[in-house]
Symmetry: C2
Subunit: 341 residues, 2 copies
């Protein structure tokens, strides 16, 4: 190596990226952004008191957040950036705090076993039983994890919900089912922006209280309804003009993906549509960094889930009986596929 040789900085930035990542997640978890939002700019000593931070690391921690452009500092007082205020404060409608708390507590430690997952093909989550899906085995069983999870799903679906509410041709349709709805951000925003639409959130019965506490408090609540549904049960799904499936298919293996789409196809009224959205890998499998990493996350989290390309998705919805099908990017890393029946 001479002084002019290739520079290792990009590789060090990626490889050491867990330091910045964990610093952002810890700040969210410790409530730095929420505290500054509620009680205004504060000094390092005030934040130590408010958040229970030890003086040994507090200044380095807060200044690292300044260097990451996640906090501003002026005259010794720390404050949120506009970006942090929008996305990292708990309880705000645009917050990703739930997502970061969930991935901090669960996914970060599970990913330490990525090598084992790659060698064995087996899940590396809380479950000893490799055949149980984490939805059955953990997430829908534990109150604290479920609350984080439904909050995380709301964070991840906010951008898509706005696009569906404003850009889908609702004038041609009267009913919509959001399958696997969690807190119901998607039916909530569609009903709020389109006052002839009846919007149903469908999920396992365990989810209803979270849905009622979120979507159920909408000004449009008289047109927003929760329906208990299990897409693997024998009963048919409720009929509707439009079905939306967000961040669902990648949780399952190929046979289950097809079974879910077939069941949805039976429930969509003639002239209706299906919208599938989530991370999707580019057709060449060369560019879509986050969707490919999300697929590794499905290896860590689920017995046989994986991400897929928009082309694969269109092929599967055709097999299920839909026609047409176009892929469009959503805000953030997600893509949507829309097809007609």
């Amino acid at each position: 190596m001479t002084v002019d040789s290739p520079n290792p900085e990009r590789i060090l930035d990626i490889g050491q990226g867990f330091w910045a990542s964990k610093t952002l997640m810890s700040a969210t978890k410790l409530g730095v952004f929420t505290e500054l939002d509620r009680n205004g700019p504060q000094t390092v000593e005030e934040l130590e008191d408010a958040l229970g931070l030890h003086p040994r690391g507090s200044r380095d921690f807060l200044d690292a957040l300044v260097a990451l452009d996640l906090l501003d500092r002026e005259d010794g007082q720390y404050r949120n950036t506009p970006e942090s205020a929008a996305f990292l404060v708990e309880g705000k409608p645009t917050s990703f705090a739930g997502w970061f708390e969930m991935i901090n507590d669960r996914l970060y430690p599970f990913w330490s076993n990525l090598e084992t997952a790659l060698r064995t093909g087996r899940t590396q989550n809380e479950l000893d039983d490799e055949q149980t899906h984490p939805f059955e085995g953990v997430i829908y069983q534990d109150d604290e994890i479920l609350e984080q999870f439904v909050g995380a799903m709301t964070s991840l679906s906010m951008g898509a919900a706005e696009v569906f509410a404003h850009e889908f041709p609702w004038k041609d349709h009267e009913t919509v089912v959001d399958l696997g709805t969690s807190e119901g951000i998607v039916p909530k925003r569609i009903a709020e922006e389109n006052d002839h639409v009846h919007a149903i959130g469908a999920d396992l019965p365990r989810i209803e209280p979270y849905f009622q506490d979120f979507a159920g408090k909408s000004p449009a609540a008289d047109r927003i309804e929760f329906q208990a549904a299990d897409f693997f049960a024998d009963e048919p799904l409720p009929a509707a003009d439009v079905y939306i499936l967000g961040h669902i298919l990648h949780d399952w293996g190929l046979d289950d993906k097809r079974a879910i789409l077939a069941k949805v196809a039976e429930a969509v009224n003639p002239g209706g549509a299906i919208i599938v959205y989530g991370t999707m890998i580019d057709e060449e499998r060369r560019d879509a960094e986050l969707p490919l990493l999300m697929s590794l996350n499905m290896l860590i989290e689920t017995p046989d889930g994986s991400d897929y390309t928009a082309g694969q998705c269109i092929e599967w919805v055709h097999e299920a009986g839909f026609e047409g099908g176009e892929a469009k990017p959503l805000p953030g890393p997600d893509t949507m596929v829309v097809a007609r029946k």
Copy 2:
């Protein structure tokens, strides 16, 4: 939130950065880059066989490395990029493989306790005893960890070693001691490029075999010497014209930092110099992301270590009896401070 609101992508990139980070480290640990360097481009099936990868995740894993620009893929065959070939292949003189294996195995899991470290001010490494430095308690005790550690230190000091070998005014000096030398990349490169200089690597006795196996095999080995030294022992350090301290001071608290510099000042010949290098925080503590995160790493790893600014370093070397002192950036994230006696 409307469709035109601030975009959460930057925050998601930072916060989810542990996925890309862990993927790079796992690929290094599993030997992807070393295998492709030794045996040429290979298909996914060939790499599964060579590396023991399970087919469930192998294609997503390798294509994620393509999306991260860490591999190229052509006609279904994966190959290293020039950057990966330079920095991620084991055994190459420019390799960071040792560093990434060390941070993958030790630091990644320790950082999952960052919140605890920030609340308590206490180390989160393998040690139950919070007062023992990991050098005594772990790193210098365990063969496998020590081998990773000395390799990691070589990776981190390569760029600096070239600058010292080529740019320091050696015509005015005949002897140099690199204190805490590990495998001795710094004395090796200085001796190789300056044939009147006698270069000493000083470290604890336990390190000598690693030094002899690396620096001791240099063509300039007759002017490269290992000396056992402990900068906290009563004995004076060996006399020399120039002392170099790389990635040392941040391992220790302020009193120890000062004690080390005082002891070095006694050992430097009149007319000599000291070079201190490592990550250094910018004076305003606003911009130097990696040094601030490195300081949090010292919270995780050491009882009272922390990073510092070049200005603080110059103040401490003045207290120890040196004069002048200027800070210059090195290749990568490090800075050096040079002062005269």
